[in-house]
């Protein structure tokens, strides 16, 4: 994932989009800047209404920004209609033309570009092979299953070799098994074609499995951009930590003991932190800490750690989730893998301690 030399595929500079006017105005996108690299699988992740689809539509040219500019490989796109942008879209509903055959659908973009008929036919065959739908050229979209329609939509959008492919929650209509298949398929297509993919989803798992980088969005703003590992392991904001995966939040104040950063938690116990820049942060500053359930460990009450009481124990086959309560009532979840079978010693009401390694603790900005 090294830095690619060259101009970014997409660059957004302080983009804002306001829908409506006056008191009813909705700021769907609020001063968003981002850079998407060439040949990257980039995901915009966030809950519905966070502005991710609006950002995608601004890149595609279906909406014009209220403020700011979009650049494609250094060239300004603002004001250009969608049909003048070498960017294609896979729509959430696929939007296949029902009156055209699969082959005609795939050839549509090439036809609009004025490619001769022989080239179009050859390209359609090539695209059908790419999405593994050989022999389907003469079917109508209505005769295909949802997954096959999805592949046709991909083939149609990729046929004219766009610089960037936009994907607007394309997998949301598929069932779970098909969705998993298509996730792998999409990643393969992106690698094979070398086209920059900008993928919109509200499904954090989808984002983590496919993306090179993820932008987490909320309320029209980008909260954090990073690789899946960075986003999951080192969330900077409470929203990011909460939205992606499960997280325990601990409130406390920062102090220093023996030259190391220590958090004085609300439950009255201390937690040693590490990481650079924590020593100089001064005493008594309020802080929120995030700990992933799988990064904490339950130890016997005579061990080192935060005292807690076991609540519900949920056995899930490969692992078990323990819902614990700290001394001040803060809930804390620990998930541990069942390496040696189910642990039967941890019944509801048992007093235990939670051991959290300093590296497992993430300090949040808010």
């Amino acid at each position: 994932m090294g830095d690619r030399v060259g101009t970014p595929a997409i660059e957004a500079r302080s983009l804002s989009k306001v829908f409506g006017a006056g008191a009813d105005a909705v700021r769907a996108l609020d001063d968003v800047s981002l850079t998407i690299r060439q040949n990257e699988f980039f995901t915009l992740l966030g809950p519905s209404g966070c502005g991710k689809t609006t950002l995608l539509r601004l890149i595609g040219g279906f909406e014009q920004p209220s403020q700011g500019d979009v650049f494609l490989e250094g060239q300004q796109l603002t004001g250009l209609p969608p049909f003048k942008r070498p960017i294609n879209t896979v729509f959430q509903s696929y939007a296949l033309f029902p009156h055209l055959t699969v082959g005609q659908n795939i050839a549509f973009g090439l036809e609009m570009l004025g490619r001769p008929k022989e080239k179009r036919t050859a390209r359609v065959e090539q695209m059908l092979a790419l999405v593994k739908l050989q022999g389907y050229a003469n079917r109508k979209p209505a005769q295909l299953s949802g997954g096959q329609q999805q592949r046709v939509a991909l083939a149609r959008a990729l046929a004219s070799q766009p610089k960037v492919l936009l994907l607007d929650e394309p997998l949301s209509a598929l069932d779970l098994k098909l969705r998993k298949e298509m996730q792998i398929e999409l990643k393969r297509l992106q690698t094979e074609t070398g086209i920059t993919f900008v993928f919109v989803t509200h499904d954090q798992e989808e984002a983590l499995t496919m993306s090179d980088r993820i932008a987490v969005m909320d309320s029209g703003k980008i909260l954090q951009i990073g690789s899946p590992t960075e986003i999951y392991e080192h969330p900077q904001r409470r929203f990011v930590a909460d939205f992606i995966g499960e997280t325990n939040f601990l409130e406390g104040r920062i102090t220093e003991a023996n030259g190391a950063a220590v958090a004085q938690l609300a439950c009255g116990h201390n937690l040693t932190l590490n990481g650079p820049g924590q020593k100089g942060s001064g005493g008594g500053q309020r802080v929120t800490l995030a700990v992933r359930p799988e990064r904490a460990e339950i130890v016997p009450p005579q061990g080192e750690g935060l005292p807690a009481t076991v609540g519900a124990v949920v056995y899930m086959g490969t692992d078990t989730t323990y819902h614990l309560t700290l001394a001040d009532g803060t809930p804390f979840t620990v998930r541990s893998q069942n390496h040696e079978g189910a642990r039967l010693d941890l019944a509801s009401g048992a007093a235990v301690k939670i051991r959290i390694a300093p590296a497992a603790i993430q300090r949040l900005a808010d």
């Binding site: 595609g60 040219g61 279906f62 049909f83 294609n88 729509f91 609009m112 209505a142 005769q143 959008a157």
Partner: protein, 297 residues
């Protein structure tokens, strides 16, 4: 199936059958019968004299020595009716499609208002509306003054009224809602994301219209054309008022046979000829635009 189930079914559809039988089949049968009767001297028919004279009269004239001579007068009226009706359908399509397209692109509240406005002319009697067109089209009328003022036409009476064009304008006006509404219905169902997809794939507005919007609106366009063409073919009031008797159409011919000419069998035969032609046109429409069964080949 048991006998009682069959009769129960029959009872359930009996009201519909009665309405179709009483209001459609019986009058049609009566008219078919009239068309093969001898005409009475003072109108009406002689009920026990059967002849195919009415159908012969449509194409041939009987000479004094009883030999048949080809007479194209009636065929010409049919041809004119077809020409004017086609022109009317074409004009209604040219005006109706952009109107329907515009309506379908409006926000929902305004769309309902526009549909309401399209149907407003129906509230006024057709006769009154056609008289209004006489005032508009006559020499010194509003249309002529407007054309003079715009400098499109020379500053002299244009004689717009009592021409086939006046008839076509009047018919277009009368039947325009029948064009707008079915096209609007098909455009409203059209998924706007398909148009976005066309733009996305490089189609400009014109090609998005030609390649995506028009083909998907085709059933509505065909329905609109049939709904305008068929009643225009049988129109009576408009050619009478705006054509001034000079542009006789089938409707006027049939009326004159039952009226002044006192030739009921011939009037009935003409009506049947018209019906046959309309049915053929409908069959062409049905064959051309029959929806493929879902998932079929």
């Amino acid at each position: 199936m048991t006998g009682s189930a069959t009769s129960k079914r029959f009872l359930q559809i009996a009201p519909a059958l009665a309405i179709i039988g009483f209001f459609m089949l019986a009058p049609l049968g009566l008219m078919a019968y009239v068309s093969i009767l001898e005409k009475g001297l003072n109108g009406g028919v002689v009920w026990d004299l059967h002849t195919s004279e009415a159908y012969v009269n449509f194409i041939f004239e009987r000479d004094l020595d009883d030999s048949l001579i080809l007479n194209t007068d009636y065929l010409q009226i049919f041809a004119r009716s077809f020409g004017l009706s086609l022109l009317t359908a074409a004009l209604a399509l040219a005006i109706g499609f952009p109107t329907a397209l515009y309506m379908s692109m409006q926000p929902e509240g305004r769309r309902n208002l526009l549909i309401f406005l399209v149907t407003i002319p129906f509230w006024t009697n057709l006769l009154v509306r056609n008289y209004a067109w006489i005032l508009l089209l006559r020499n010194g009328g509003l249309v002529e003054n407007l054309l003079h003022w715009l400098g499109i036409a020379a500053d002299q009476p244009l004689g717009l009224l009592y021409t086939p064009y006046a008839v076509s304008i009047g018919l277009t006006y009368s039947y325009l809602p029948f064009m707008v509404l079915p096209i609007y219905a098909s455009l409203e169902k059209l998924d706007s994301r398909l148009i976005e997809a066309a733009f996305d794939l490089g189609a400009d507005r014109r090609r998005a219209l030609l390649r995506v919007i028009l083909p998907l609106a085709a059933p509505g366009i065909a329905a609109g054309c049939v709904l305008v063409f068929v009643p225009a073919l049988g129109a009576y009031v408009t050619p009478e008022l705006l054509g001034g008797g000079k542009s006789m159409m089938i409707g006027n011919l049939i009326q004159s046979q039952f009226g002044a000419a006192r030739n009921w069998p011939f009037g009935a035969a003409l009506a049947f000829a018209l019906l046959t032609i309309v049915l053929l046109a409908m069959m062409v429409y049905l064959i051309r635009f029959r929806r493929a069964p879902a998932g079929g080949h």
